[in-house]
């Protein structure tokens, strides 16, 4: 079970409170987590990564275990603590603008 924390705007859009918990068939990577997230909450498609290129939107960041994983490859394994649900994966709206 993967734990995921969304930024407030996306929690509102998906109508969820607190953390999202996802069961994955495969090992946790950015791609498998986002695939599972978008399958459960289709309204989030296009808000975290581009529909076509699947690239992370520029002002979105992925944090876990006190590390910035934003520039990891989409298919790179996420930390084991995320994979086991010990630590959440944070999807963060970068601080920019006002």
């Amino acid at each position: 079970m993967i734990r995921l924390i969304l930024p407030p705007h996306l929690r509102s859009l998906a109508r969820v409170d607190g953390e999202v918990e996802l069961e994955l068939d495969d090992a946790a990577t950015q791609r498998t987590v986002l695939n599972a997230l978008e399958a459960r909450y289709p309204m989030l498609r296009g808000t975290i990564r581009d529909h076509v290129t699947q690239e992370r939107r520029p002002f979105i960041r992925f944090f876990a275990c006190a590390h910035d994983l934003s520039h990891e490859l989409p298919d790179a394994p996420l930390p084991e603590a995320v994979n086991t649900g010990t630590e959440p994966l944070l999807i963060v709206g970068a601080i920019a603008g006002g």
Binding site: L13, G46, R57, A96
Partner: protein, 371 residues
């Protein structure tokens, strides 16, 4: 008794204002989509309870929201805007070529007769259409592929397609306007387009009368006379009596002919409204006085409308999509400001009051007249 519903898009959410036909007391709901930029909300002429909203964010991209109950509840629909085929390039601010890139939806224009059909004008400039209530979007790509496309360039706000006018009696005819390319028209439902900018003069261009490149801010049409168009350009207020084949300047006695919005009285096709601002570098009212100007002669002769509007120390702007009219017997005029006020006049501009005054900066105002 008739009622009026005003749909307000702001930098930080949407607001829906409702009133009875007197228009002296307003109920306000919102913010809907709090924290998001709402570039435009518009209702279907065929079903006034069907609304579409453009919800956008620099962080999270574009969403389209749809309501089937007049804005009480909303659901996100399709947000996949993919340019059709080869992307191509356009001019960038520094003169280099830049591939078309979707940024946001500026304007939504529902079909005149089908609630599930809606057009979207987007940045970088292109026209999309949905025929399934916003679930899926398809580009009418002949516009972007026009031979002049590589020469189009962004205005200060981005290269946006901001105006879509559907012809009431010729369903195949659509007018669109792009900053800064100009006005284009299709007579075959979007299969082919041509620029219709003859008569426009833009001193910022190397050739001020070139066929494309004009920074058209807004065009307006009265549904009873759809081949007569009025335009607020970067500078100049213009008029066309031949579906855009030619334009004549009608700025007349305006104190400044720079501005963004332009609209037409619901029952008087020659009564036109603009909100002049000082200049292209000073986007606020001349002398700090917020004045709507009205022409009852189709242009050239303009009168200032000031009663109830601030006449000192006012330095707000009124953006291109932030003016609308209702269709009650005594036509109501509405506009929103970058200072968060929405002003309304229930008597065609004679008297004004703020129906709400502390919203986030207003991006768009649309008004529905309900039975």
């Amino acid at each position: 008794m008739s009622a009026v519903r005003a749909l307000i898009g702001t930098r930080k959410g949407a607001f829906v204002l409702t009133s009875d036909g007197k228009r002296d007391r307003w109920d306000i709901s919102g913010p809907h989509f709090a924290g998001w930029e709402i570039y435009h909300i518009k209702g279907s002429p065929a079903d006034p309870d069907r609304l579409y909203a453009s919800q956008t964010s620099g962080w999270f991209g574009q969403l389209i929201q749809r309501s089937s109950d007049g804005g009480k509840t909303w659901e996100p629909v399709g947000n996949e805007f993919v340019y059709d085929g080869e992307i191509g390039t356009h001019q960038w601010y520094d003169g280099t070529l830049r591939p078309w890139k979707f940024t946001r939806v500026w304007h939504l224009e529902p079909s005149l007769d089908d609630p599930d059909t809606v057009y979207a004008g987007v940045e970088d400039a292109a026209l999309f259409r949905s025929t399934d209530g916003g679930k899926s979007w398809h580009e009418l790509s002949a516009l972007r592929r026009h031979e002049s496309g590589p020469s189009w360039q962004p205005g200060a706000g981005g290269m946006c397609l901001h105006t879509i006018l559907l012809h009431a009696s010729h369903p195949q005819r659509i007018f669109i306007a792009i900053s800064a390319a100009g006005v284009f028209r299709t007579d075959d439902a979007g299969q082919s387009w041509r620029p219709i900018n003859r008569g426009l003069k833009s001193e910022f261009m190397p050739d001020p009368t070139a066929e494309v490149g004009h920074c058209v801010h807004r065009i307006a049409m009265h549904k009873s006379r759809p081949d007569v168009l009025f335009m607020q350009k970067h500078w100049d207020v213009m008029r066309s009596d031949d579906a855009g084949e030619s334009w004549q300047e009608v700025s007349g006695n305006l104190p400044t002919d720079f501005g963004f919005p332009i609209d037409i009285h619901a029952h008087e096709p020659d009564t036109v409204y603009v909100v002049p601002i000082k200049s292209d570098s000073e986007h606020f009212p001349l002398d700090g006085k917020l004045r709507v100007y009205r022409s009852r002669t189709g242009g050239n002769e303009w009168e200032a409308l000031t009663k109830g509007l601030p006449q000192r120390d006012c330095y707000v702007n009124v953006l291109r999509d932030a003016m609308a009219v209702d269709a009650l017997d005594s036509c109501g005029i509405y506009f929103g400001t970058t200072g968060g006020q929405v002003y309304a006049s229930p008597d065609a501009g004679e008297n004004w009051s703020a129906i709400v005054r502390d919203l986030p900066p207003v991006l768009s105002v649309e008004v529905q007249t309900l039975p």
